[in-house]
């Protein structure tokens, strides 16, 4: 691992906490292999607020609220809360949309990808290959000088936008739940008790803030700087989930067949995660990291999260998201699942968008120097 192998203990603790929390929340009612999934849960919130009408994925996921608030509280405690913004916000919004659509084509953010891997879902290993390819493409542009330019210190209001939004959502879902749409069947109807999810996510959010845990940062730093700090968190989550599933009797070996809320359309598993890897490198962090930074007062990450919310709505309104493999209970006919043609077109279009953003943000001078 070279000289640069110093691993921060907090990354290991955070990885362990994410793994245990995910197993616990699934045990208490969250969908299988979905103890945590930033993409799925933001998508469920988009559904609950009526931004899309996919009846099976509508729920105000307290995990998202908890992650933001956990990060917010920890950043206040460590005096790291800083209102910053102004680094290409509109481009970040669009990249947030792209990453979300890519994740929903695959059916999971990078965090759920690791959770699915630990649950024995071989489709997720195809996703991992795509994720790695996407990160390598992103690194190529970083080395060419890609940058969304610097941010600036802004008023505290900007920094509080996301934490306050999270509090408002929480108050509303507790006080007047009837204004939201809640799935009666499907993944959206499966959830751990609200306050357990909230509390667990706050702990995870605080630890993720403290440790800088990031799925895309792990591979990026390992490739670019031979720095394996963040990647160790990725590894700990996988091992914790795998061992936990074996202990709980949930593990049935590795297979691509009929995995929970997953499809076996491998080209699209791969390409969906290429988008997530590439887009996340351009953004400087995976969807989880964007939520955590939004909690720390980063307005650019808050905009990215809002972009993810809109991307999720688009993914379902325009039928871009993957549909899970299924087995007809009567005929026993197996359907491997996959994505509709609209989704395939969207994937192709997003590659064009990512390439455009990547190339256009390389300074000309740097281009010559490189």
């Amino acid at each position: 691992m070279g000289k640069n192998s110093k691993i921060n203990i907090w990354v290991l603790i955070a990885g362990l906490a994410v793994g245990v929390a995910s197993l616990l929340l699934t045990f208490l009612g969250n969908p299988k292999n979905m103890g945590f999934c930033i993409a799925c849960f933001v998508r469920d919130i988009a559904g609950a607020t009526g931004l899309h009408q996919a009846a099976v994925v509508q729920y105000v996921r307290p995990e998202i609220i908890g992650l933001i608030l956990g990060s917010f509280i920890m950043s206040l405690a460590t005096k790291e809360f800083k209102a910053k913004a102004g680094s290409s916000p509109a481009v970040r919004f669009i990249l947030g949309m792209c990453v979300m659509i890519g994740a929903l084509v695959f059916l999971g953010c990078p965090l759920r990808m690791v959770i699915r891997m630990g649950g024995g879902d071989l489709n997720a290993f195809v996703g991992l290959a795509g994720f790695a390819i996407g990160i390598l493409i992103g690194i190529f542009f970083l080395k060419k000088g890609f940058s969304l330019k610097r941010n600036y210190t802004v008023t505290t209001t900007e920094g509080l936008a996301m934490p306050i939004s999270a509090v408002v959502l929480l108050v509303l879902v507790i006080a007047v739940p009837s204004i939201f749409i809640f799935s009666e069947m499907g993944p959206g109807s499966m959830h751990a008790p609200l306050f357990v999810s909230l509390a667990v996510a706050m702990v995870v959010g605080a630890l993720a803030q403290k440790s800088r845990l990031c799925m895309v940062g792990g591979m990026r730093d390992a490739v670019m700087f031979r720095d394996f700090n963040l990647l160790s968190g990725f590894g700990v989550i996988f091992v914790t989930i795998l061992v936990g599933n074996i202990i709980l009797g949930n593990f049935n070996g590795f297979s691509t067949y009929l995995q929970p809320i997953a499809h076996a359309s491998q080209l699209w598993n791969l390409l969906g995660m290429v988008i997530v890897g590439w887009g996340s490198v351009l953004l400087g962090g995976c969807p989880l990291r964007q939520l955590i930074l939004a909690g720390e007062g980063n307005g650019d990450s808050s905009v990215t999260v809002f972009g993810m919310l809109v991307g999720a709505a688009f993914a379902h309104n325009f039928k871009l998201a993957g549909s899970a493999a299924s087995l007809d209970p009567e005929t026993q006919v197996y359907n491997a699942g996959g994505i509709a043609n609209t989704g395939k077109v969207a994937v192709a279009f997003i590659f064009v968008v990512l390439l455009f953003v990547s190339v256009m943000n390389i300074p000309k001078l740097e281009k010559k120097a490189a």
Binding site: G2, N4, K84, S147, D221, F225, N229, G285
Partner: protein, 68 residues
């Protein structure tokens, strides 16, 4: 000097890496404005054989990298 204030990860480390690879300086001053960047630059600089001193002024950090 590398001024990476306002840049988010991993840009500060990329800039330091470029400077180190290109000019192999025995001393290098790096300006950043987030603790996470201090941590990341320190990890990288240490791996390249630098000792790192950090001074904080008004929420910004001045890092002095010196070849050990």
């Amino acid at each position: 000097m590398v001024d990476a204030r306002g840049l988010s990860c991993p840009m500060p480390v990329v800039m330091v890496q470029k400077e180190v690879n290109a000019n192999k300086p025995s001393e290098l001053e790096v300006l950043v404005d987030a603790k996470v960047c201090v941590e990341n630059v320190t990890r990288y600089a240490t791996s390249q054989g630098y000792k790192v001193e950090v001074k904080e002024v008004d929420g910004e950090f001045s890092m002095m990298l010196k070849k050990a």
